[in-house]
Amino acid sequence: MELIKVNQSIEKNADFIKEVGLESGQPVQKCYQCGKCTAGCPVAFAMDYPPQQVIRMVQLGMKDELLKSNTIWICSTCHTCSTRCPCEVEITHVMDTLRIMAGKSGATPAGKAKYVETMYNALLSTVKSYGRTYEVGLVLQNNLKSGKLFNGADMGMPMFQKGKLQLMPSKIQGAAEVARIFDEVRKMEGGVK
């Protein structure tokens, strides 16, 4: 990490600090860095900044570092941290908020974070087309876009043999209504594909 002048960052990114608080609905300023969230986080080992540090970075207005971090994508939203925080900061909602902000800022996640983002997009695009998740379509699209072409390929045959693969998607009657939800949200908020 680069050297950061904390005072300057707080001033420069005052809007960001406010926005994270408002959008997540969480009293981020209350965090006193006890570390309980990080201690219980099941995926802290794979994160560039553990949850406790993410909250501190929000307090300090470190917008760029946060929106580029892989943490906000890798967080599995298990709510363990939120359940245990003595200051009742629901860290999971902060993670979601940062992820949404990163998506809208046009940041391009890399590596592990990219795989998560790709999966989100693949899943939502099948929902937008059919009104439901289509597991096969999801895996195929995910693989094409993440460049991991044969990921899950070993899954296909056994799943098929157990009758767990639908070869065709089932489209609901109200699929157009669901697509409209996506379009309207995009109009209202911008940025949602």
Binding site: R99, I100, L124, K164, I172, G174, R180, I181, M188
Partner: protein, 286 residues
Amino acid sequence: MKYAYFPGCSYHGTGKEYESSTQAVAKKLGMELVTIPDWSCCGATASHGKSHLLNVALPARSLGIAEEMGMDVTTGCAACYQQLAHANHKMAEDAGIREKVNKIISKPYNGTLKVKSLVEAVGTVDPETIKAQIVKPLTGLKVAAYYGCLLVRPQKITGFDDPEKPMFMDNLMTLAGAEALDWAHKTECCGASLGISNLDIAVRLINKIIKAAVESGADCFVVACPFCHLNIDWHQKNVNKKLGTSYDIPVFYFTELLGLAMGLSPDELGLKTHFTDTQKVLSLVG
């Protein structure tokens, strides 16, 4: 008891045993599950990371339909439950978001329903009613009830059981004659969709959970979520391959074990389509 039932997208795919065993057990208990007509995807593990509004609107579409049916909602999948319960909470509490969402879904939702997980719905049936159906108690079977994260957290939204030491499934298993073990990883996260996007991370989480269950002497897992099932049942062999372990522990939905104890046949319950061999446990309970 009558519920508006939300099957969830895995109901005829990866989670089809859950669906068939749910229907069979509901019938035994006199619980009527009326499928929400033309229900749509809840947004699963993706919409919460895209937009707060989308994340409420997607499940709210199905809740609006259910409200017209006038029945509380239940769903087996813990991820769907989380999404529906969260949207329900928002639509009931937050007038601003309710107004926005109701503009973009076809049937407005006023937040008047309760959303219950299937574990809660079955777990609140009178124990005597359940006991009356148990004809083949699972005597001697040691089960590790694994709840995962989304079924019992955050408590403000789920609220029916303890977020760190839940007991609902344990109690159901006790009613079915099995021995529910006290073990450490009841609510540890299995990685959920990291199993699709980042298997290297997911196998480490799954490994910890399986290790804890095996060390506590469990014959099998009992779960209430198709994601948890997929991760622990299907990915068990990937854990073995990547981490050099040699686990071979079957994973059942709680409805499958209840169904067995109620005398339903393994075929009826879908027990033949698991990836980890279930035979060992089936012969144990005769």
